[in-house]
């Protein structure tokens, strides 16, 4: 029995079908990377799972409870969101709160923990991402990489069943990418179930247990990194891989 079961997820913006009847099941402890050309619904898939978009149809089963993506019940919406946490491309830390307060926020308002307990948990998670020395810094005092690490701590502190990461390194200076990738890798090794959209192919190769190639709102290929990168079956996937390798080649030749 898988941890998360998504059935028939569809989403369109106007007449543009972004997700077309996507089925996806994720096992506990999986690190699933979604790759694919831009505009194929990678981010939309993640955002739909967290109901930041309103899909037209589909269901998700998480924690043995089936919730429709089109649910109007705010109780069900909150339940789904409590089981999933999102890490955003733009970090989206609360600007008026310090690093520590950012991590404590959800623990206190959503999990209703006492301040002391929330602080304990927050400290533990900030330490894991290596931010213990920046507790009372506001986001504006932190670099992009540091902000993203705080954001990861904020998400992990909520102990989600499924961690969603939407291009967590795309807004970072090249120098800062690795510190975030290291943090994600650590979270993966600790057994967190992660669904991740990224363009860091080498990272995907090393850390992901499974890769999904999404194109035009459909899952075109699904397999282990080895299967995807070394013996791609679909022509489109081959094309895509050639293209990204070509880009790399061009870069190197300059």
């Amino acid at each position: 029995m898988s941890l998360v079961e998504i059935r028939g997820l569809s989403k369109c913006f106007g007449s543009n079908i972004v997700l077309n009847n996507v089925d996806l099941s994720i096992n506990k402890g999986d690190v699933v990377a979604i790759i694919g050309p831009s505009g194929t619904g990678k981010s939309t898939l993640l955002r739909s799972i967290n109901l930041l978009e309103k899909p037209e149809q589909g269901t998700i089963t998480i924690n043995n409870k089936e919730i429709s993506f089109t649910t109007k019940s705010s109780k069900e919406k909150l339940e789904l969101r409590k089981n999933t946490e999102m890490v955003f491309q733009q970090f989206n830390l609360f600007k008026n709160r310090t690093a520590l307060e950012n991590v404590m926020e959800g623990l206190m308002t959503v999990k209703k923990l006492k301040k002391k307990e929330a602080k304990e948990i927050a400290l533990k998670h900030l330490e894991k991402v290596g931010m213990s020395d920046r507790l009372s810094h506001y986001p504006r005092h932190l670099s992009g990489g540091q902000q993203q690490r705080v954001a990861i701590a904020r998400a992990l502190a909520m102990e989600p069943e499924l961690l969603l990461m939407d291009e967590p390194t795309s807004a970072l200076d090249p120098e800062l990418v690795s510190e975030v990738l290291v943090t994600i890798k650590k979270a993966a090794q600790e057994g967190n179930t992660i669904l991740l959209v990224t363009h860091e192919m080498n990272f995907v190769k090393n850390v992901a247990t499974r890769i999904i190639f999404l194109e035009n709102g459909k899952i075109v290929a699904d397999g282990t990194p080895k299967e995807i990168f070394e013996s791609p079956k679909s022509d489109r996937l081959k094309d895509f891989l050639v293209k990204i390798h070509m880009l790399e080649n061009v870069e190197y030749s300059i």
Binding site: M86, N92, K95, N96, E105, L135, H137, H141, R154
Partner: protein, 254 residues
């Protein structure tokens, strides 16, 4: 020959004028609160595009902004009794049309005037909070009220404070028109005093001093609040955090 300009009187009559300062302050405080509450409601209606209410709000703001405050004071002063007469006539009630304390007219007119101007300030301030932070809060599982209270309001307030302070200063000076509704506040009191002494210029000098001091005080308070609420420029604890390091370094060096 009597003095052409009795500059001593300018100062000696200030206490007599100040007797009615509480009325000015009462008008200001109540109109300010009405302005904020109604302004917030209008802002929310406009942001959420509530049908019908939005059109009413837009028309209201447009009319209030398009007419002078003195005309609005006359309109409430004469309009409310006429409305009461109609109510008495159609519903058989017997409200005392002449029994309304004059300050009510001034409060209603000034409060509604404030609300129209403040609503735009508040709307802009709420919209200035990044959508990403709201999404992050949703993702944490916070409900609408929690998001509004803990994410939007604290940040919107810091944005709105300077403009709200400005509008409050305008309001303090606007209360000087309340005499048109036969409310005796400091300006009206000054006129009464001058009516006895024929020292009009001196009284207006006293009034100028009083309003000026009042305005400066309000400015100061708002500057203080603004500073208190905004995210500090520098990291306070950074210094504290660095101190031990420096000590360590110096001891190493020594």
């Amino acid at each position: 020959m009597s003095k052409i300009f009795d500059w001593q009187l300018v100062f000696t009559q200030i206490p007599a004028v100040l007797k009615y300062l509480p009325v000015t302050l009462e008008l200001t405080a109540i109109a300010m609160i009405i302005g904020w509450i109604v302004g917030l409601l209008i802002a929310i209606v406009k942001i959420h595009n509530v049908p019908i209410l939005k059109q009413i709000s837009t028309a209201f703001v447009s009319v209030i902004r398009g007419t002078p405050i003195i005309v609005q004071l006359y309109l409430t002063y004469f309009g409310i009794p006429i409305a009461l007469k109609y109510i008495n006539y159609y519903y058989g009630t017997s409200y005392n049309v002449n029994g309304i304390p004059p300050i009510i007219f001034a409060i209603v007119a000034l409060g509604l005037n404030q609300s129209a101007f403040d609503s735009e300030t508040i709307r802009a301030a709420i919209l200035s909070v990044e959508k990403g932070q709201v999404e992050a809060a949703k993702s944490l599982g916070m409900n609408g009220i929690q998001i509004f209270k803990r994410v939007i309001v604290p940040q919107a307030v810091t944005v709105a404070i300077p403009s709200l302070g400005n509008s409050l200063i305008g309001l303090v000076k606007g209360t000087s028109l309340a005499f048109t509704c036969s409310v005796v506040e400091i300006t009206a009191q000054g006129k009464i005093l001058a009516g006895n002494s024929y020292r009009y210029f001196e009284v207006y000098c006293s009034l100028a001093i009083i309003y000026f001091v009042l305005t400066i005080a309000i400015e100061r308070v708002f500057t203080y609040i603004e500073k208190k609420m905004s995210v500090p420029e520098d990291v306070e604890t950074e210094k504290k955090g660095r101190l031990p390091k420096k000590e360590g370094l110096s001891s190493e060096l020594g």
